[in-house]
Symmetry: C2
Subunit: 296 residues, 2 copies
Amino acid sequence: MNFRDLHQQVKQHTDDSLLNLIDLLPEHAPRLKMAMQHALLAGGKRMRPLLVHLVGNTLDIPRSDQLTISMAIECIHAYSLVHDDLPAMDNDDLRRGKPTCHIAFDEATAILAGDALQTLAFTILADHPMSSCGNSKRAQLISILAKAAGYLGMCGGQAIDLASTGKTISLTELTRLHQLKTGALLCACVEMITLVSDSLAPQHREQLIEYARLIGLAFQVQDDILDVEGDATQIGKPQGSDIELGKNTFPQLLGMAPAKQELANLHAQALQALHTLPYNTDYLAAFTDLMVKRDH
Amino acid sequence: MNFRDLHQQVKQHTDDSLLNLIDLLPEHAPRLKMAMQHALLAGGKRMRPLLVHLVGNTLDIPRSDQLTISMAIECIHAYSLVHDDLPAMDNDDLRRGKPTCHIAFDEATAILAGDALQTLAFTILADHPMSSCGNSKRAQLISILAKAAGYLGMCGGQAIDLASTGKTISLTELTRLHQLKTGALLCACVEMITLVSDSLAPQHREQLIEYARLIGLAFQVQDDILDVEGDATQIGKPQGSDIELGKNTFPQLLGMAPAKQELANLHAQALQALHTLPYNTDYLAAFTDLMVKRDH
């Protein structure tokens, strides 16, 4: 199967599984249920499930276990977008061309939908059948995801982002901000799916996690470059909107040419991390390109 | 030790443990860290940790394991209060006489603090050493807490509360609302601490959970009665504020005398549930009185 078809298939499986998950909830709070579904199925590209799937397939992890991990991660990702879009945070009315959760519903429902999606992530990891992993590993999966989502990861990164908006921070601080805000969850994809493998050598696990760290950072550098040079209709937000909001960006701190050089370095390092693994990593190389060379 | 001193001791241990937990977080997002501490240590009565402790002691569960469970529950409880107080929800400026989190900090920080506290609850259950419980039971503890906190519990109840404010609902619906919004977490206290016991008979476990369900509901009926008859300075909010907000209450649906009779029935049933257990339940009986006969 070519990479594009594989991505489409993973997206479809993830969408179907998440829709099914929400369908199974009882009807006692229909508006909240609809808001959770809206948030989960608002047309995301499912990059994280794709990464879980590619690493999972490489390690012969059963498809159903890949999906369990992907669904939990997508619940955390979706909740974070709902809360980040709130008026008190980034105050965004649109995401991927559709009304954000608090616009489609209301602010109270959006707060609750985010809250309930976060909880749902942990329910999935605690409850869903997993054929390749006993109860003892479930707690570790939950530990990894919670660390990536909470103060030590995403929430901490978002707080640093809020605190540093309108101020100039150092390159080290900007890198740390992105490592926490978006990098931690991407690393968690790899940490989780590799945890359930019984055959992976520890040093190869470390290399895959390092790969995730590198592409996470590369993704963000590319995001910042697109904010300056991208086509507004492609990237879905006005050009220069990050800088206008007073966000720190890599091109701003480094200059555009050095930022592009940094992106190229990260890309090369990520491919290098794959290169030394004793697996066929062609799909992962294609994933790297998708993350780094995108135009939106 | 008399019951009042025991309660004070549990409160002190819980406060100290939570403060220590926050202290141990790194400093990368100091404002978020302070907001989490503010939310966790805003003078709660620690009724849930007290219930965990009383049942845990009855079943000889080690004190450190009781504390692990209590801390996780208090993180969920604290996060729910922070989000419930937000302007888009109940819009409360004060809680227990102190500024609420979004007043003491700001709305974005309060949303994030709630989010990070929810995550922290699951980190605690996944990571903290537990002497009486292996990894296999951790996933079950997490499952119980997540069920009580999410769409099937607290979040679902809060959504029903929002949807039914300003409308008259049936007694069955009001009971269900409270069972989800506040009852589920109280039941989870008992479900969790009894799960780690190896000696408790299943029917006695069910009885203890039923006891928690009964006192949870009794607590809410009493809350509604206090809203009409309580001393505003004692209950910490203006008399009649629930009715003014268009909230459904038991006295309003049943009449005051039948509501008081219902409270007495629930109280008697709760004591009856304790009575048939083969344990000394004197402290739990005192706890029942504390929950049901309070004046604030």
